[in-house]
Structure formats: C-alpha cells, structure tokens
C-alpha cells in the first residue's frame, strides 16, 4: 500500500475512502480541464484555418486586385490619351472595368475593415473620385480638341494615382498579406497542441497509476470506468494528433506552394506595374528625369529572373506545381520587356518623344505595351495557379479539423464520467 500512497500526495497517511474521494475529484477535474484545453486548442487552430481560407486569403487577393486595377486604370487612361482615336474604345472599356473592379475590391476590403486599414481605405475612397474627375476632365478637354489642357489634367490624374492611391493600395496589400502570414502561422503553430498532449500524457499516467492502486487495494483486476476513460483518452489523442498532422501538412503545403509563391508573384506584379506606370508617366510628363531610369534598374534587379529575385524565388516555391510553367514564361517575358525598356529612357534623354511614344504606347510586337501585357498575363496565370493550390490544400487542412472540437468535448465528458463511475463504485463499498 505504501508504494502507491504517493499518488495523492498527502502529508499524513489517509484512509482509503478519503484517498478514493481525492482521486475522484482530481481525475474528474483533470479530464474536464484537458477537454477545455484540447477543445480550445482545436477551436483556435480551426478558426485560424478558417480565417486563412475564408478571410485572409480572399482579402489579400482583393488587396492585390485593388492595386492591379488602380495601376492598370492609370496605365490604360494615360496610354489611351497618348494614342490615337482608334484605340480609345477598347481602352475606355478597360479603364471603366478597372475603376469598377477597384471600387468592388475597395467595398470588399471596407466590409472587412480593420482599424489598421481604415485610414488607407478612406484615402482611396476619397482619392478615387478625384482621380476619375481629373481623367474625365482630361478626356473632355482632349475630346474638344484642347490637347494641352487635357494633358495637364491627365498629369494631375497620374499624380493623384502615384502619390495617393497606389501607395495606399500598396500598404493595404502589405498589411493584408502580413495578416495572411500571421493567420497561416497561427493555424500551423505548435505551442497549444503541445500543451494539450502533455496534459493528456499526465492524465493518462494518472489513470494508469490509479487503476493499479485501485486493483491492488480492492483486489479487482479491472476497473471498467477507469479503463473506459483511458481508452477514450487514447482515441481522443490519436484523433487530435492525426487531425492536426493532416491539417498542418495541408496548410503548410498551401502556404509554401500556394500563398507564399503567390505573394512573391504579387510583389513581382506590383513591381512590374510600377515600372510600367513609370514608363507611361515619364512619357506624359516629359520630365527628362533620369531617376525613372534608375528606378527601373532597381525594379529589374528586384524582379529578376536571377538569383534571389522575386521571379526566381517564386519559381523555386512553385516547382512541380501547375504555376511553374507560367512563372518560367513570366521570366522570359520580363527579359523581352527589359530589352524594349532600355531604349526608352535614352530616347527620353534625347527628347525623342515621337519614337518614345511609339515604343511605349503602340500595341505592335516589339513595343513595351504588348511585352508588359505578356508579363502581366503570365504573372496573373501563375498567381491564379498558385492560389488554386493554396485554396484546395488550405480547405483540406481546415476540413481536417471538422467535428474535432465537438469530439474532444465528448471525449472529455466520457473520461470524466468513466472516472466518476469507476471510483464512485469502489467508494460505495466503504459505506
């Protein structure tokens, strides 16, 4: 007897019924506590996975689309202004679609507005009509035959876009992708599941030691209540570990092969759009400013392809995935586009605006516009492919937690009931 009295560590030897009562209280409380910790852990992970799939990822996508729509609207409106009448209808439709898209993305982001984003979203909400008003005035003056005032309004539109709207959209995207990373980390993080497992181990050990003590004390080989609690605990732990392993594997795959390369490609897309925007801005502003050329060189170094660049990082992440071929295509597009671009700024410095305009605006192959469009299209395809990988893997990961929270609660209640039943029957024998 003395060998098992260590279980409930009492300062002085206690009577068997007292020990049984203490054991009963400790085990029932332990089982319920484990249920709370494990259930809470599952709910946290499930809700983080839910957040990744249902909120963070769509918002990150909206934010990226918002930037893309705004940037494309600016490039399209300016290009339409600089090019001939023939191209205006298609460009006008594209511009209108961009602005509508931006407004829809803005509405989606505002609906899920966090305090951190409120200022930036308001900046876009206030700046967008100012921008469209400038574009409308530019078009109106131009359509009436007054190109010079029209051009100055188009410049004002570009300034509003580049100084107000795009920086805000870029910040919103950065914030949303940081939120996506945080949600993914939370969904796949380890600390609480480790706590739940350690607690399960302690309770399991307690159950085994109690069964041994009870069997020695009462000369009954099996206490069915305690045995049932132990089996149920084992089932609960196996379920928990399996679900968590599956979910973590799926979510990690979704992040590493889906959202991470998609985010890298989105950054590449934003960098490319910025460089293309600068080309067009430089053309309409006739600034003769060499800093745009320097900026382009920076973007090129950042975008790649090449060691450590965005395109190469994305290619490595999506290797073996469907997006890989589009990333490779984007790398080829980027090289071709750079080839066109390197002539642009030398033409600008020589004030050869006519040739520069042709090279920036025309849709003929070999001009900047179609080469950039190819790059943008292939980046878009690669991003879409990566997002499909992410969505399916992340959804599978989220589904792995399905029913687990309720299951853990049931398991905990069964364990508590088993302990209570098993020990109370032994206790009854002392009355």
């Amino acid at each position: 007897m003395a060998t098992v009295t260590t279980m409930p560590k009492a300062p002085a030897p206690a009577s068997a019924p007292a020990r049984l009562r203490t054991l009963l209280i400790v085990l029932v409380t332990g089982c319920l506590a484990w249920g709370v910790v494990a259930g809470w852990t599952v709910s946290q992970h499930a809700s983080a996975a839910d957040d990744v799939v249902g909120t963070s990822e769509p918002l990150s996508l909206d934010a990226q689309q918002l930037y893309r729509s705004l940037s494309d609207a600016d490039i399209t409106a300016t290009t339409a202004f600089l090019s001939g009448v023939q191209e205006r209808l298609a460009m006008r439709q594209r511009y209108t679609a961009d602005i509508s898209g931006a407004a829809a993305d803005l509405a989606a982001l505002k609906a899920a507005e966090s305090r951190a984003q409120a200022g930036r979203l308001s900046a876009i909400a206030a700046g967008l009509p100012v921008y469209t008003d400038y574009v409308a005035r530019a078009v109106t003056w131009n359509a009436a035959g007054y190109q010079s005032p029209g051009a100055s309004f188009m410049q004002n539109a570009s300034v509003e876009m580049h100084l107000v709207l795009l920086p805000a959209a870029r910040s919103i995207y950065a914030q949303e992708s940081a939120q996506l990373r945080a949600s993914s980390a939370e969904a796949t993080g380890l600390p609480w599941i480790v706590v739940a497992l350690v607690l399960a181990l302690i309770i399991g050990y307690g159950l085994l030691r109690t069964q041994r003590w009870v069997s020695l004390r009462t000369h009954r080989v099996v206490n069915y209540g305690l045995l049932g609690a132990t089996v149920v605990l084992l089932v609960g732990v196996i379920w928990l570990v399996a679900a968590f392993a599956v979910a973590r594997g799926d979510l990690s795959k979704g992040v590493n092969h889906g959202s991470a390369p998609a985010e890298t490609l989105a950054q590449a897309d934003i960098a490319a759009a910025q460089a293309r925007g600068d080309e067009v801005l430089n053309l309409i502003s006739r600034s003769g400013d060499t800093s745009f050329e320097q900026d382009f060189a920076k973007v090129r170094a950042q975008l790649g392809p090449g060691h450590g660049t965005l395109l190469s990082t994305a290619a490595a992440s999506s290797s073996g995935e469907p997006g890989a071929r589009w990333v490779a295509a984007a790398g080829r597009d980027a090289r071709t586009w750079y080839g066109v671009n390197q002539h642009l700024y030398s033409l600008d410095l020589a004030a050869n605006y006519a040739k520069e305009t042709q090279l920036v605006v025309q849709s003929a192959p070999g001009s900047s516009a179609p080469e950039f469009s190819s790059l943008e299209r292939d980046l878009g395809r690669a991003i879409t492919a990566d997002q499909v990988v992410f969505s399916s893997a992340a959804s599978a990961g989220r589904d792995a937690f399905g029913g687990l929270e309720a299951g853990i609660i049931v398991v905990a209640l069964l364990m508590a009931a088993g302990c209570a039943w098993g020990l109370s029957r032994r206790l009854a024998e002392y009355r």
Binding site: P129, V130, H162, S287, A351, A354
Partner: protein, 442 residues
C-alpha cells in the same frame, strides 16, 4: 466617356469627397469673392494683318486683387479674435493670412531664387521692393532658365525655383514635397527680324507655319504658306532662321505645347517639353540661344530670324517684328492686357488645388494662344521654421501687394508704355489657391 464611371456617384458626394481630399492635402481654403467678372475686360487687340495695333491699354482685369484677397483673410483673422476691434487688432489681422504670419521675422534672412529668365525681371523687382520694406530679408535672384530653377528646388540648392512650366507629374511623383505656386500670369511672344517691313506691321503666323519654319520646311519669308496668311504684306525672300532655347526652358515648353496642340505633324515628330529634339536646319547649325536675353540678342543680330520670347523682354525686343498668333477660334491675336486675361478666363474655375494646368491654345475667341502661370517651385519642408515663415510671408506678399501694377508693369526698364502688355495679376480665386499652397510650407 471616362467620366461616366462617376455617373453612379451623387454629385454632392463627389464634391464632398473632393473636399475631403483637399482637406487631406491641407488645401481647404476660404474662397475669395470673385470680383473679376464685372471688372473691365478691355478691348481685345485683334489686329488685321498689316495694320498697326491700336495703342492704349485697358484697365487691370483684377485691380482689387490685393484687397480682395487680403480683406477676407484680415476679416477672418479679426473675427476670430476675442479682443475688441481697433487699430491694434486691425494690424494683427493684417499680419495674419491663411493661418500664417504675413510679416517676416526680425532676424536676417536670405531667400534665394533662380530659374525662369522670363520671370527674372519681375522677380528681381519684387525682391528689391520687398527688401526695401523688410530690410532683414535679402532675396538674391538668378536668371538661369526654368529647368535649372526646378532642378535647384528639387536639389534644395535654392529656396525658390522660378518656372514658366508647371512641375511635370514625373518630377512631382519623384519629389512629392514640391509645390508649384502661381505668382503671376505671362505670355510668349513670337518675334522676327525683317527690317524691310514697315514699322508697326504684325505678321500673322499660325502653328502649322511656325512648325514648318522650325522644321526647315519653310525656308524663306515669302513662302506661299506665310504669304497666304499675310496677303497685304510685301514679304521679303529672306531666309528663315528659327532660333530656339539651348537651355532647359519653360518658354520652350510653352511654345512647343502651342505647336503640338494645333499641328499633329509637330506633335508626332517632336512634341513638347522644356527640352526638345529640335530638327536640324540645313546651313544653319547652332540655332540654340541661352535664355530670353540670348534669344532677343540673337534675333537682333540675325536678319530673317524667328524667335519665341517671354513677354518680359518686349522692351529689349523693340525694333523686332511681333507676330500675331492664330488661336483655336481662328482669330489672330497679339498679347495684350485684354487678350491674355481673356485667354486665361476659361481656365480660372478649372484650376485644380495644385494649380497645375496648361492654358495653351484655349477656347477664348479673343484670347492670345500662349499664356501661362509663372510658378514659384518651393518645397513644403524648409530647413528651419524661420525660413518657412519668411518664405510664406514673402510669397503671400507677392500674390497680394506684389500684384500691383507698379511691379507687374514696371520691372526694371521703367514703366511699360500702354502698347506693351505687362504681367497679368492672378485672378482672386487662383490667388486663393496659391495662398492655400503657401500655407503648406512648413
């Protein structure tokens, strides 16, 4: 139309959003009572070819500008005071404008300026007058061309860069702290050196003819294209020598904007800018000249020249012929105290908060086609609070007291005769926008 995308937004909402953005940019400002509409527009100087322009200048279109701008500001400041009205308060009210002191500090201050050669004579006059009123403030000025004025403001090597051209969107995006603040209204004139023409003759020229002259396609002054515009003038067969600016120049920006606006061939081949890839003219290498003084001197020296020059060099250009330019409505105009404000009028209410607007070749039937705001390019971030305060005070003085005829019509070579237009004052609503921008200098 692109504007259709705003169709779904209620008009009042659009306006409130625009106001919200203006507030965000710190550009909320009081509107100044616009008294211009009832002020004398004066008579236009539409002159038939071959005839002398009528003498006599009209009254200032906005003669009460200084009062119109200063009075509401002073009243507003006075009303906000809790003290009873009186001489002391009136002085305090006069000393405060759109939330900033209107007088410089007591300490010595230097506000350096460089840039536009067009604005230079007037700026130097303002600087001297201001130094006379506030001896602690010294304003060294420099005629280096608009391009250098902008570059100096970008680099922070001067406090005020003067420019005939507004900042390009590219420069603004790269340097978001720069403001372009209109200080006055100017125009570009086109001169020629044909001594055989009778004095007072004003040849008619249009953008196509000018474009062909600058491309070397019209090589003689008696070419049919020029003769058809000037049927009553006995044109000489002198060779055309088109001079252009060799420095980065707002004048070039304005002149080539005019050519581009009406001549598609020019627009497609050369376009507009402070620097242009000028076509070579066979037999005439080296047609570039430094600054407006270089253009005027070059034209005096070269019979057959054609040159675009800012309006502040009219006195130096005496003896040269001054062309009437065709506007969009098809009328031929000389720059005058009537035709310049007339050209500006359709753009006054459209001038955006950052005051970036081209008024080249606008719709006014009696308007001179090449008019522009003269800009001060200034950074919103000054190295010291004292410099910011003194800059604000000086620029505010320029757009109020500085708009007086004693400066705009008298900038160094004595008062202008009535036949020669001076700089034109800013319309009150534009001055209010300038004041709002000046208030951003911190």
């Amino acid at each position: 139309m692109f504007g259709d995308v705003m169709a779904g937004v209620p008009h009042n909402r659009q306006r409130s959003l625009v106001r919200a953005t203006m507030r965000r940019h710190g550009k909320e400002h009081r509107l100044v009572v616009h008294r211009a509409s009832r002020e004398a527009r004066g008579s236009g100087r539409t002159v038939p070819a071959g005839r002398t322009a009528p003498a006599g200048r009209t009254g200032r279109p906005w003669p009460l500008l200084a009062t119109a701008v200063a009075l509401p500001l002073a009243l507003a400041a006075g009303c906000s005071s809790a003290s009873p009205p009186g001489p002391v308060n009136a002085a305090a009210a006069a000393a405060r404008g759109g939330g900033f002191p209107l007088t410089p500090g007591p300490g010595p201050q230097t506000l350096s300026e460089t840039g536009s050669t067009l604005l230079y004579p007037l700026f130097r006059t303002w600087a001297t007058a201001y130094h006379g009123q506030h001896s602690q403030v010294t304003i060294p000025t420099g005629a280096t061309g608009s391009g250098k004025g902008i570059a100096g403001a970008v680099a922070g090597t001067v406090d005020i860069g003067a420019s005939d051209a507004y900042l390009s969107s590219g420069t603004l995006v790269q340097n978001p702290r720069l403001l372009n603040i209109p200080l006055a209204v100017s125009a570009q004139q086109v001169y020629y050196n044909l001594p055989s023409l009778s004095p007072g003759t004003h040849l008619r020229l249009d953008p196509q003819v000018l474009s062909e002259m600058y491309q070397g396609q019209i090589t003689r002054w008696n070419a049919p294209a020029i003769a058809s515009l000037n049927p009553r003038v006995n044109l000489p067969g002198t060779r055309v020598v088109p001079l252009h600016r060799s420095d980065s120049s707002g004048d070039t920006f304005l002149f080539t904007s005019y050519l581009s606006a009406q001549d598609a061939a020019w627009s497609n081949a050369f376009g507009y800018g402070t620097v242009v890839n000028w076509p070579g003219i066979a037999g005439h290498p080296g047609l570039g000249r430094m600054g407006n003084p270089g253009m005027v001197a070059g034209c005096h020296q070269q019979v057959g020249c054609v040159a675009y020059v800012g309006l502040s060099y009219a006195q130096q250009a005496r003896g040269l012929g001054e062309a009437q330019l065709q506007n969009r409505a098809g009328t031929y105009q000389l720059p005058s105290n009537a035709s310049i404000p007339a050209a500006m009028q359709p753009f006054v209410s459209s001038t955006p908060p950052n005051e970036t607007i081209s008024m080249i070749d606008g719709p006014a039937a009696q308007g001179y086609p090449i008019v522009n705001y003269e800009y001060a390019v200034v950074s919103t971030r000054q190295p010291t609070a004292a410099k910011a305060r003194d800059l604000r005070a000086f620029l505010h003085w320029v757009i109020t007291a500085g708009q007086s005829s004693q400066y705009l019509d008298d900038f160094g070579s004595g008062p202008l005769p009535p036949s020669i237009p001076g700089f034109q004052p800013l319309p009150p609503s534009v001055a209010a926008l300038s004041d709002a921008q000046i208030a951003e200098i911190k």
